[in-house]
């Protein structure tokens, strides 16, 4: 537990020291939203708004998290290997990436609704969906990024490996966020929320169990 906190602290320090990476991500999201704004102006149709939002979110996530294992040099990985428990490493990475995704998604939501319009009727539920979606995206992508970084051709492998695995998560998230936009109340969405939570827990548990096998080389 102590280890996890220290590792997260280290991640945040690292990010703070090289701010250009985080700023670059914000710029990435901003530029993508701006391109969508220029090509669509305003989106009135709810399904299109929703799908586009989550696609931006997906690509931002892949870009943000792909580097989480890639940026570590071989020597530093060896250093962690000696120092820390692999389970603490994967959990700390997932938690850190989750925080990063959460920030990105809030930024994305603000900027997106500013430029393209905001049809969301049930905002708390939508924010809750953002939370769950970021959690799912970050945990799957962290795990896949670990696999891809060990495999070598990380940049090319990342989307190929992650998109099919993300499908069930993304479909459920999109459905839930569509309900939030349409203004359905919580009771109607109980089932979807439970499925999404269960999926998240499952992914994190799988990562927790399987990561030690990829970590040792």
């Amino acid at each position: 537990m102590q280890q996890i906190f220290h590792l997260i602290e280290k991640e945040i320090n690292l990010e703070w020291k090289q701010k250009y990476a985080f700023n670059g991500l914000l710029l990435y999201v901003g530029a993508t939203v701006f391109i969508c704004y220029l090509s669509f102006r305003e989106i009135l149709e709810v399904p299109v708004w929703n799908a586009l939002f989550w696609i931006i979110q997906l690509f931002a996530g892949v870009n943000a998290i792909a580097k989480s294992f890639l940026q570590e040099s071989r020597g530093r990985m060896l250093y962690y290997y000696i120092l820390a428990d692999p389970k603490a490493i994967i959990l700390s990475k997932i938690i850190y990436n989750f925080l990063l995704m959460l920030l990105l998604s809030v930024f994305n939501f603000l900027f997106y609704s500013l430029l393209i319009g905001n049809p969301v009727s049930n905002t708390p539920l939508f924010l809750f969906t953002l939370l769950l979606g970021s959690m799912g995206l970050s945990s799957v992508l962290t795990m896949v990024s670990a696999i891809a970084s060990k495999a070598g051709h990380s940049a090319a492998l990342m989307p190929i490996l992650s998109f099919p695995v993300l499908l069930p998560l993304l479909m459920t998230t999109i459905k839930l966020s569509k309900n939030a936009i349409d203004g359905l109340d919580w009771a109607a969405n109980q089932q979807l929320v439970i499925i999404l939570l269960a999926l998240n827990i499952m992914v994190i548990a799988l990562g927790y169990l399987l990561f030690p096998y990829i970590w040792k080389e």
């Binding site: 795990m143 896949v144 696999i147 060990k150 495999a151 070598g152 051709h153 090319a156 492998l157 190929i160 490996l161 998109f163 099919p164 695995v165 499908l167 069930p168 998560l169 479909m171 459920t172 089932q191 979807l192 499925i195 999926l199 499952m202 992914v203 799988l206 990562g207 399987l210 096998y213 990829i214 080389e217």
Partner: protein
């Protein structure tokens, strides 16, 4: 004499040069074509039974489906055997991670190849059926999307395998990815379609193979067909594994 004809048919003209070794000849003679394992015989018999009975037995006349309900014996059983193959691949993956025995990784890989092959056949047979029953080659249906996503996952699995050169690293990474992907796929094909309405027979009020529609005569063909297809898939996988082992020893 008989052995000469037989060896000529199997090994071609050069067999005498190639198999001068008497011991080897004796061993090959023992492996007569009729002496294959019992489950291979069972597979042949069950598949013959499936393809003959599947077309001949009376089936219930249901609206929309009519005679095309017979696809249950061929298309659905192929999907069953695909899922079983993928499950076998998952089990071999887990066993590999526990034991680090590279042979298990070969088995996992070849099970996946057979599974992909069956999946492609499943999509093709389903597509032909859909064209004649629903009027389109591809429709936006939860089960079809699940099938397509499964194919994507396993193609990604093959790409991952191809991108790593080191044998042990490849085995470990692909086992982990296989376990990860298979669990997500199970959710995608087993859980999510139950939340939405599917066009498939037996779902969303469509007539089909539900509890009371699937009558006794159809069951007598369906279950043997599933077993037969799975045995055939196992047979294919066994041959693939043996080829792969020989290649590795070269």
């Amino acid at each position: 004499m008989l052995w000469d004809i037989y060896s000529f048919l199997i090994f071609g003209r050069n067999n005498k040069k190639r198999f001068r070794n008497f011991e080897l000849n004796k061993k090959l003679m023992k492996e007569n074509i009729l002496q294959i394992a019992w489950w291979k015989w069972l597979c042949v018999i069950l598949l013959f039974y499936t393809y003959i009975a599947g077309f001949l037995i009376p089936v219930p006349r249901l609206p929309i489906l009519h005679e095309s309900i017979r696809n249950l014996f061929f298309h659905v059983t192929i999907w069953f055997s695909m899922i079983i193959m993928m499950g076998a691949s998952l089990i071999y993956g887990i066993r590999y991670l526990n034991s680090n025995n590279i042979d298990l990784d070969i088995k996992a890989e070849q099970c996946t190849y057979t599974g992909i092959f069956l999946g492609i056949i499943g999509i093709l047979t389903g597509s032909v059926w859909a064209k004649n029953t629903w009027g389109a080659w591809w429709v936006n249906d939860a089960k079809l999307n699940g099938a397509a996503a499964t194919m994507l996952v396993y193609l990604a699995y093959i790409v991952l395998r191809g991108s790593v050169d080191d044998e042990i690293k490849r085995a470990r990474l692909s086992s982990v990815y296989g376990i990860f992907a298979f669990t997500m796929m199970l959710v995608f094909i087993m859980v999510l379609p139950r939340l939405t309405v599917s066009l498939h027979p037996g779902n969303g009020g469509n007539p089909g193979f539900g509890a009371y529609d699937l009558d006794k005569t159809m069951r007598t063909v369906f279950y043997p067909a599933v077993i037969g297809q799975t045995l055939l898939a196992t047979w294919i996988t066994e041959i693939l594994v043996r080829i792969k082992r020989l290649k590795q020893h070269d």
